[in-house]
């Protein structure tokens, strides 16, 4: 819809409104009312699609007031007023009279409607006008008005807490809750008291028992509120627990899953300290929950399934016999299928693992590629978790031959994990694994896993070196995880089958040492130096046999699961995180404008410690070059070996981290070592987490003139470090000193960074554009800032950050201290250069 068209129609509406308002006196007939209704409908339609209709506030009011007795019109008027009250508090004041008058109308429907709208205006300084209509509403003869009045209390509470507390309204609600005959009024009282933080008023025995006795009078939603409130109640003794459960047992037969889930939660929480009864409850809820997930309503089934998963992880045995319930059905959406696969994995034990794996195998042929992958993963997971069940590993091996490359890739990954857990099954697996070729496994993770297996078990796979050979020549084209895995695998295999691998190792090491990726480069260098020092020690480090892993870390720790279980029947279960992770401090009724600005950009330095090393390693780049020279010249000298000089403490560190990485398990993102020395204090201090929206950045950047421009030369090591890890390391480093990244990108050799910072106490933001040109070996930086005083200090600060990147191009300090001592055994640090 064109803007002009809507503007034209708005003008038309305005004219119609005016003419209708003026003629009202004479033609009060039905036609006028119909015409007014039509024009109001149009207005509401525009409101819905987001067009601002507030400018005709007066006309709308006049037009409606003259036909005051028409309820349809009145309702639309109320809707209009409530929509724009907040942005037009002055005009809203004019409507107060009309609304308070309607609050005293004869018709309870109108009284209720007016009261509801009155409370919904959300204008804080009008609260005084609302209090007395609410007070009267709470005493109204008609339940409809009382329900509305109770909710009104909450609306005012969010606007002006003190007004509600001073008027003693919460106490009134508490009385109403006990006395009122209308169940919905009672339910609303419960909701409001709970929201107003007066939940402790709800949990006395004298309140809970009568509520439960009349639970069937409540609507299904109100039943949920009651059950939720009661779940905070601590029964006096076990008998009372049983009484409550007996009263509520038939709630488990309700067709509304919300009622059933609220009941389940109550039962589970009541019996937490009574383990045998708790087990009975779990038994009891099995059937009702299964019925709820079988209805053909996927959305509600999803919520129930998420709870099933939680319970199944806590008590898998209970459900191990009903595993067929969780077999996927052809017409289910993927979110249901995914959950079901997880439940099946959780339920698998000695009694059902074979049947479950058989079913999962069928899904591997599914047209839905993601489902097929998840099925492979699930089979792998079951193979790891459930021991001594034949046939499962065979199924996994069978997946290697499906001819679908993504299935092969997933299967290889699972087999790799399986070998880590049970090295003894290697013999059974290797024949199948060696029958595939690396080019069959196209996905990086799968290929890395395949390479790992070849490296680790190369002594048993005759073709291993020849399978790896083509990868060596295409080394530079492989993705980073594959390069790392290949380096590790070739390193290991070299010690097992030196004659066949020597050339391959040479090719790979040469390629890797020239690699632009930090991790690949560093690891290659490590191998190279180790080999130069002593092949024997290198074998000890690189070719160390791996201990079997007895237990893989689970996605969720049991503690986390317990915390989520405490929040049963809430979003925490579905989102799989305690509510503290996704609920922010409530800001009900906060001004909309404040919310329109999204929270700061996500570029927050999450692990400050990790980033801190920034400039501490400044000089190590030069050190490193020197070290290579000296170590080659000293290569033959019988100087003390790495291990003996570094002392017992250093060796485990080195080998442990090396081994871990050789597994390819930690991928490319192993944490940078932390240097103890803090960065030199910058002359300009920046706020640690500046906040700027992309829109604001763009606007300021467009309007400001450049305050400074400079070009800064960068050594290759700094360039590589900036480029590494998709710029993230660099951005994290700058983030740690308070320079946040708005955007970064570009393709080699040119990268662009847009950043911003807020000088501590300074009046305005500093905006920055840095264009890093790899071919020219420099960065061109443009600064924009309103406050000229901040520009030079900031420029200095940023230069230091760029320089610091050169220092990153080193191995960790632990290794270095070892190397330094090896070299001369005496001095340390730059003095040696």
């Amino acid at each position: 819809m064109g803007e002009s068209k809507s503007r034209g129609e708005q003008a038309e509406i305005r004219t119609t409104l005016a003419s209708l308002a003026s003629t009202s006196g004479s033609s009060k007939g039905e036609t006028a009312v119909t015409a007014k209704r039509d024009v109001f409908k149009k207005i509401i339609n525009y409101i819905t699609i987001g067009i601002d209709m507030s400018s005709m506030f007066m006309q709308v009011m006049t037009c409606a007031v003259s036909s005051g007795e028409d309820i349809v019109l009145k309702k639309m008027l109320y809707l209009y007023i409530c929509t724009y009250a907040q942005s037009n508090p002055d005009l809203t004041l004019l409507t107060i009279n009309l609304l308070t008058k309607d609050c005293k109308d004869q018709d309870p429907t109108i009284r209720g409607l007016a009261l509801r709208s009155l409370c919904q205006l959300r204008v804080a300084n009008l609260v005084e006008y609302i209090m007395s209509p609410i007070q009267q509403g709470l005493q109204d003869a008609h339940p409809y008005v009382r329900r509305t009045a109770v909710m009104g209390v909450l609306k005012v509470y969010h606007l002006d807490k003190a007004a509600v507390l001073n008027a003693g309204m919460l106490e009134t609600l508490q009385e109403t809750m006990v006395q009122d005959k209308d169940a919905q009024v009672v339910a609303n009282c419960i909701s409001v008291l709970k929201q107003a933080g007066a939940a402790q008023m709800l949990v006395s025995r004298s309140l809970v028992i009568p509520l439960l006795n009349r639970i069937k009078e409540f609507s299904e939603w109100a039943q949920c509120q009651v059950l939720e409130a009661v779940s905070a109640y601590k029964p006096a003794n076990e008998q009372e627990v049983f009484d409550i459960m007996n009263v509520l047992d038939d709630r488990l037969l309700h067709s509304n899953s919300a009622v059933v889930m609220a009941t389940v939660k109550l039962f589970l929480h009541l019996t937490l300290t009574m383990p045998p009864t708790h087990q009975q409850v779990l038994e009891r809820i099995k059937d009702p929950l299964q019925t709820l997930i079988s209805r053909d309503h996927f959305e509600t089934a999803y919520a129930v399934l998420a709870h099933f998963l939680l319970i199944a992880q806590r008590a898998p045995v209970l459900f191990s016999q009903i595993y067929t319930t969780f077999f996927c059905r052809q017409n289910e959406p993927s979110y249901i299928k995914t959950l079901k696969l997880e439940i099946l994995t959780a339920l698998a034990d000695e009694t059902n693992a074979y049947e479950i794996a058989t079913e999962l195998t069928e899904y591997v042929n599914d047209i839905d590629e993601q489902l097929a992958r998840e099925a492979v993963k699930a089979v792998g997971r079951i193979a790891i978790e459930v021991q001594d069940v034949g046939g499962i590993v065979e199924r996994l091996l069978g997946f290697l031959e499906t001819g679908k490359s993504f299935v092969t890739a997933e299967a290889v990954i699972q087999i790799k994990d399986l070998l880590r857990r049970y090295p003894s099954i290697a013999e059974a697996c290797l024949a199948s694994v060696s029958s595939i070729a690396p080019e069959d496994v196209t996905e990086p993770e799968g290929r890395a896993a395949f390479i790992w297996i070849l490296g680790e078990y190369g002594h048993n796979i005759q073709d291993a070196p020849y399978l790896l050979e083509p990868l060596g020549s295409s080394f530079a084209d492989e993705p980073v995880p594959v390069r790392l895995a290949l380096l590790a695998a070739v390193g290991k295999l070299f010690f097992k089958r030196p004659p066949e691998c020597q050339r391959l190792l040479g090719t790979v090491l040469a390629a890797a040492m020239g690699d632009s990726n930090q991790d690949v480069h560093d690891r290659a260098l490590l191998y190279y130096r180790l080999l130069q020092q002593s092949a024997k020690e290198a074998e000890r480090v690189v070719g160390a046999p791996l201990p079997a892993i007895s237990h893989f870390a689970e996605e969720q720790s049991p503690e986390l699961r317990d915390r989520i279980f405490d929040e049963f029947n809430s979003l925490a279960v579905v989102l799989r995180a305690p509510s503290a992770n996704f609920i922010q401090e409530s800001h009900v009724s906060a001004a909309d404008d404040a919310l329109e600005a999204p929270a700061a950009l996500p570029e927050t330095p999450r692990a400050a410690a990790e980033v801190d090393e920034g400039s501490a390693l400044l000089s190590s780049h030069e050190q490193e070059e020197a070290l290579i020279d000296t170590s080659t010249s000293n290569g033959n000298s019988p100087g003390p070996s790495l291990v003996s000089t570094a002392g017992p403490a250093a060796v485990p560190t080195t080998s442990a981290s090396a081994v871990d990485d050789l597994l390819g398990l930690s991928g490319g993102d192993f944490a940078m070592p932390v240097a103890a020395t803090p960065a030199p204090p910058p002359t300009l201090s920046l706020e640690p987490r500046p906040v700027l929206t992309p829109a604001a950045f763009q606007a300021s950047w467009g309007s400001l003139q450049p305050a400074a421009r400079f070009s800064h030369p960068l050594p290759p090591s700094a360039l590589a470090a900036i480029e590494a890890n998709n710029h993230q390391d660099f951005c994290r480093r700058t983030g740690a000193v308070g320079i946040a990244t708005m955007a970064s990108g570009g393709v080699a050799p040119t990268f662009r960074f847009y950043m911003y910072a807020k000088p501590m106490g300074g009046p305005s933001m500093v905006l920055l554009e840095a264009i890093v040109d790899k071919s020219a070996g420099s960065a061109s930086v443009t600064l924009k800032c309103e406050d000229a005083a901040s520009v030079q200090p900031f420029a200095e600060l940023f230069r230091r950050q760029l320089d610091a990147m050169a220092g990153v191009d080193t191995l960790g300090p632990a290794l270095h201290s070892g190397w330094r001592m090896t070299k001369g055994g005496s001095q340390m640090g730059p003095t040696m250069i």
Partner: protein, 454 residues
């Protein structure tokens, strides 16, 4: 509770928007739509609950539109999703159906309804019945589109999901509108056959749906089979096929649940449900049975190498409707996914198709790599077969046989009830003055997930 409620069209336009707490940005509907459309890069269905920047989005998709609630609180997902589902139901009750057009045509009515259903984010009055008192706008009814097929009950033309009628019909034009009540037993069956033709798993998910247009809301009684057994008996071993094998008329259910309005006083002894049906459509009882039943269709396939051509395979599919000749399935579709090696297919309908050639057809959907064999109508007991000549992109291999399928069937069988649950009688407990309301009791069985592995 909930901060906002909105309805989005399939293209993402906001067609209804209600903000209750004002603590979620106005752009939430755009955030929602983008997220749903590009879940996992657009390849998968977005889950009904997700969180973006501290705002939780819960949605239900029905009639092509999204019913969405946003919240910043840790609410019960079941509560919000059930509420959204209920709102969808209310719209159907008032407008006759739920679709983008129905919502657009009736948005003022819907605002009116929503005002009563939710106050400040808390659910209030949600029964279509009780809402009538507060609703003044008249619904604008839509004609159902013809393309939607014949509905659930082709013969009858009306059904719980086929009746396009607002509940305001009886209340506003008392006396003139037809007094009628529909009681339908709708069963959805899931059945998985192994490649050797055995039933691996099966389940019936059933519901007794009631849609009442009776004035004065009289109580009704629905009597079910006397021999209804609910709950898995401890004694039932693998050999116990319920009553089915022995030919008795025992109906076995695993579990069931009931609508709020149902009184179970006479259920334990007489298997009779008593209730005062509120206006609108609802499920009186949902039930679930995993006891074996007779599958209505059997499918067998053979895959062979073509002796005349190395690059061809011959697939024979035979389908046997295993129910009485007095009944007929409608809209049967047999979907056969084909492996990558199959470049194209050509099919010959069986000789039997001569008489009913018009009711059968086949369609090769190249992009989705599947063959669909369609029937307008399949009479019970009459076998059909299809001979497929598939052209292969590479030579015949044993792997091809394995990678065809699994075959999936979709169908509707009116007046058929897989569990054999029956309504013995439907009684309207009210003094009649020579005027009998129409009472419809109907049965239908639909496929839910009917999979034949190959």
């Amino acid at each position: 509770m909930i901060s906002q409620f909105f309805i989005l069209s399939p293209r993402g336009d906001t067609i209804i928007m209600r903000d209750y707490l004002g603590n979620v940005p106005k752009a939430s509907s755009e955030v929602f739509f983008r997220k749903v459309n590009f879940w996992d890069k657009g390849g998968r269905d977005a889950p009904p609950v997700f969180n973006v920047d501290g705002v939780s989005y819960l949605y239900v998709k029905d009639g092509g539109v999204f019913l969405v609630a946003t919240t910043r609180e840790n609410v019960s997902p079941s509560l919000v999703l059930e509420l959204l589902k209920r709102i969808g139901g209310i719209i159907k009750d008032y407008c006759g159906l739920l679709s983008e057009e129905a919502v657009r045509k009736n948005f003022v009515l819907l605002y009116e309804l929503l005002d009563e259903v939710i106050d400040y984010g808390y659910p209030q009055n949600s029964s279509s019945e009780a809402l009538k008192e507060f609703v003044l706008n008249e619904p604008t009814m839509l004609k159902p589109s013809k393309s939607k097929g014949d509905g659930l009950f082709p013969g009858v033309g009306k059904g719980p999901t086929g009746v396009i009628k607002s509940i305001l019909d009886t209340s506003r034009t008392e006396g003139k509108a037809r007094e009628e009540i529909f009681v339908d037993i709708v069963e959805k069956i899931s059945c998985t056959f192994s490649s050797s033709g055995h039933v691996q798993t099966s389940q019936i998910d059933g519901a007794i749906q009631v849609k009442s247009y009776l004035t004065g809301n009289p109580a009704i009684a629905i009597a079910l089979n006397d021999s209804l057994v609910i709950g898995r008996r401890e004694t039932s071993g693998a050999t116990d096929y319920g009553g089915y094998r022995h030919g008795s008329d025992t109906v076995m259910l695993d579990d069931c649940n009931f609508h709020q309005s149902v009184s179970l006083d006479r259920f334990e002894t007489e298997r009779t449900l008593q209730l005062v049906p509120p206006d609108g459509e609802f499920a009186v009882m949902n039930y679930r049975s995993t006891y074996p039943f007779k599958p209505p269709f059997r499918v067998s396939t053979t895959v062979e190498e073509d002796p005349n051509s190395a690059l061809k395979a011959i697939i024979n599919i035979r389908i046997t409707p295993d129910f009485g000749g007095d009944k007929a399935a409608s809209g049967l579709e047999v979907v056969v996914p084909m492996p990558r090696e199959v470049a194209r297919v050509h099919c010959e309908l069986g000789r039997d198709a001569k008489s009913g050639a018009a009711t059968q057809s086949w369609d090769w959907q190249e992009k989705a790599r599947r063959l669909v064999w369609k029937f307008k109508r399949v009479q019970g007991g009459v076998e059909h077969s299809l001979r497929v000549r598939a052209t292969l992109s590479e030579g015949w291999g044993a792997g091809i046989k394995k990678s065809i399928g699994p075959i999936n069937l979709q169908f509707t069988i009116p007046m058929y009830c897989a569990s054999r649950l029956q309504v013995r009688y439907l009684q309207i407990l009210k003094e009649h003055k020579g005027h009998q309301p129409y009472r419809w009791v109907r049965y239908v069985t639909l496929s839910n997930s009917y999979v034949v592995r190959t």
